[in-house]
Amino acid sequence: MSSPQASALVGEFSAIVGSDNVMTSEIDRYAYSYDAAVLEPVMPGIVVRPTTSEALGRVTRLCNDNGLPLTVRGAGTNLSGGTIPHPGGVVILTNGLTRILEINEEDLYAIVEPGVVTAVFAQEVARRGLFYPPDPGSQTVSTLGGNVAENAGGLRGLKYGVTKDYVMGMEFWDVQGNLIRSGSRTVKSVTGYNLHGLMVASEGTLGVFDKIILKLIPPPQAARSMMAIFDSIAAASETVAAIIAAKIVPATLEMMDNFTIRTVDNFRKAGLPTDAAALLLIEVDGHPGQVADEAARVEEICRRQGAREIKVAHDAGERNTIWQARRDALPALAKLKPTCVLEDATVPRSKIPAMIAALGEISRKFDLTIGTFGHAGDGNLHPTILTDKRDKAEWQRVEHAIEEIFDRALALGGTLSGEHGIGLAKRNFLVKEIGQATIDYTARMKKALDPKNILNPKKMEG
């Protein structure tokens, strides 16, 4: 930004948010050129940090008046490039908008600004004796605005759903700087289009979130965790289907393959069964009576399906040991190689055995190390490809493998992305899943709502 026109713009942004909240230096801009996706950084032209709702709206309008592409950024933990800015565009930070405006214990909702950190919010809610279930892996830093824009999931998806299941309403800025309202504080509301639903998973392409109304629920009174050890991955994945078929919905039902088990054990020396083909990590929660009953039935199903051993946690320490193994999965895998590509193609859960088999074939076909773990209960596996992006030949094989993972998941009736989003990383594959007509329909809608195409351009564009 060196031309007179550019410095005039810097002045206009400064007038809205204050000069301390406008960053134009090379290093400041570079620090907002990336997110957690394995993609090349892209330099924005300017970074602004509004600290009031009004300033957020005015910044949005200023961008539109000048045809400046803008990308809203929370914690930048996106795994699909959704927060990588447009070249020379504007990055709007939400970490100046971090107020929890209301937690209503009578009507079970909360109203937040977009920059509130997920775990901070969940903790505050828990302090009032309530529960906000979505728990994406990045929750200690991720923002609620980002969670809504990506429809973030987590470990509790199976029973409690994902972010979209908790968005009751929203206020957002359109590109002209008008405040648009949708949804309400009530459980039931059919007034107007479900625009807040449209905003969920819109990846910053349709509006700039100002306030979000989130649903809260009472927490479960009891929980019981267990680890089931299997000698065959097929038996483990069939067990997942059997538990659901028995009309039991565990809060969490996670799987780890042999490669991941060995890596985790090597990482923490937690005494995991390194010869096991697969582990299922299961937690049931609810009323104490129901928990005892369901835990016993899950244990019995695991045994019947051929689990060689089942370890039930009897206290908080044992429960923590089980979940520590799951928490260690990604860090342990990530330490093996410099680059870690975390995929999230998702299949109907009955297809988990077929998807696991497909991943094995893909790993052999492209001669790649793939560790697989993830949310088996909701069909959302995380095949994790371990590589070094500087090794060009191997990186090409990685790209082919990713494409084949998508193809196989789609062939099984699945989806490209369970919870990480499309962003820049998967936009070229979009047509395979939703078809050209859907892409055209989306493009017409986007054109109507954002005529100058300033809202996070290119993201999710098929």
């Binding site: 090379e26 290093i27 620090a31 907002y32 997110d35 957690a36 940090r49 930048g76 933990t77 680059t339």
Partner: protein
């Protein structure tokens, strides 16, 4: 200044380490500086990205990157919590060395590091000039000490509530010791460290009292040099090497079981940084490794080697004590249990404070270069100390003691700041 070949090699090593950062951003959750500013250039992910941008020749503003890199407490909390296990402190220290090599050490730092720190007798003589010297410090040497060696920064800035230089440094009170092991069967080499020597001699005296009481033999040679952390963080590898060589020369041929220090930073530096960052020409790698293996934090030594487990000690009802974890003990060495045990062994009525393991904001030279930020982080620590209801906050690092004294003295709550060994020494009267 490092020669070009060495620089190139350092950059190459750096690239191999930098690539391990997957930009997950989890460091944002734990960085005490980021919590205050919310700026990506202040958190580790941002700094690592900047270094990659510099290495890839995308970025030109190396001066700006140098500035960003120095806005860091080096508390190591990010490294202790990094999912990818990136060796962040190694990268930052190497990068500082590379950039210092590139820009050159500022003349004031050169004067301090090479003229003073690398010459302990001169350093001691100068600091012994007492009040007269402090006058000079507070006026002319302001920036000089500030940007260089914050260990000695206390009397620097006008509105600071600082600990004055001791009128009698520890080394004057106990010039040297060479006593055999007594009933304990143990003999230690004692490395008090500069801050204990020049500001908190009572910590050194407490340690010596405990050694005597527990019949531990002590080898305390005169002429100990700084452990090197201030020069290392400023990227001055040459002086760092010199200081290691001087210290190794003093200790290499002596017989002792452990080298014990009451300073968390000295312990971490000798144990973790000497062995893999010494790049001088002397053939002393073996000596450095052996010293590192035998180096112990003083509370670790007292609890694990002397068996002071506090079992059967009834806590005194009065004087509630809380504990602050120094970064160099918790993050670098994983030591959190022993100091707490020792407080109980001293009969202390211990309460845990909130965020005990969060950095106090001192960060060596960070405190001087970025005093306002340091104060914000320190005030959060002070809030937590006050909220704990404790009358005494104990810790095991004299640099943290300086920072907490500064922050707490503004509150006028009458909360004392003491080293854990002082508490224990009091209990054996």
């Amino acid at each position: 200044m490092a020669d070009l070949q060495q620089l190139a090699l350092m950059f190459k090593n750096l690239d191999d380490q930098l690539v391990n950062c997957m930009r997950c951003g989890m460091c944002q959750a734990v960085c005490p500086l980021f919590r205050e500013t919310g700026r990506e250039t202040d958190v580790t992910r941002g700094k690592l990205a900047l270094l990659e941008g510099l290495a890839a020749e995308i970025l030109q503003d190396s001066q700006g990157i140098d500035t960003a890199l120095n806005r860091c407490l080096l508390c190591g909390t990010c490294q202790a919590n990094c999912p990818s296990g990136v060796q962040i402190i190694d990268i930052f220290l190497a990068a500082r060395a590379i950039l210092t090599g590139y820009f050159g050490l500022s003349p004031v730092k050169k004067a301090i590091f090479r003229g003073m720190l690398a010459n302990p007798r001169l350093f001691n003589a100068l600091t012994s000039m007492g009040s007269k010297f402090q006058g000079i410090f507070t006026k002319k040497v302001d920036d000089l000490l500030g940007s260089s060696c914050a260990r000695f920064n206390a009397p620097v800035v006008a509105d600071r509530h600082f600990n004055a230089l001791a009128t009698r440094p520890f080394r004057k009170i106990v010039p040297r010791l060479d006593t055999p092991a007594g009933a304990s069967g143990l003999r230690v080499a004692f490395f008090p460290g500069c801050v204990v020597d020049k500001m908190f001699p009572q910590i050194g005296e407490a340690a010596v009292k405990i050694f005597r009481n527990k019949e531990v033999g002590v080898f305390l040679p005169a002429g100990q040099a700084c452990c090197g952390i201030p020069v290392l963080t400023s990227g001055d590898r040459q002086t760092f090497n010199t200081l290691i060589e001087m210290n190794v020369e003093l200790f290499r041929n002596a017989a002792f079981d452990y080298l014990v220090t009451p300073c968390a930073s000295c312990t971490a530096t000798i144990k973790e940084l000497w062995p893999h960052l010494y790049s001088g020409s002397r053939d002393i790698a073996g000596d450095i490794a052996r010293l590192g293996e035998r180096t112990r934090d003083i509370t670790e030594f007292m609890v694990d080697s002397l068996g002071l487990d506090g079992l059967g000690v009834t806590p005194a009802k009065e004087d509630v004590i809380t504990y602050h974890d120094p970064c160099h003990l918790k993050n670098s060495l994983g030591i959190t249990r022993q100091p707490r045990t020792l407080i109980r062994a001293a009969g202390g009525n211990f309460v845990e404070m909130n965020e005990a393991g969060t950095c106090c904001g001192c960060g060596g030279s960070f405190n001087v270069a970025h005093y306002e930020l340091s104060k914000k982080i320190g005030n959060r620590k002070a809030d937590n100390i006050v909220a704990s209801g404790a009358e005494t906050v104990a810790t095991s690092c004299p640099a943290c003691m300086m920072q907490m004294t500064d922050m707490l003295s503004r509150r006028d709550k009458g909360i004392r700041v003491r080293h854990v060994v002082e508490l224990y020494a009091d209990s054996i009267d």
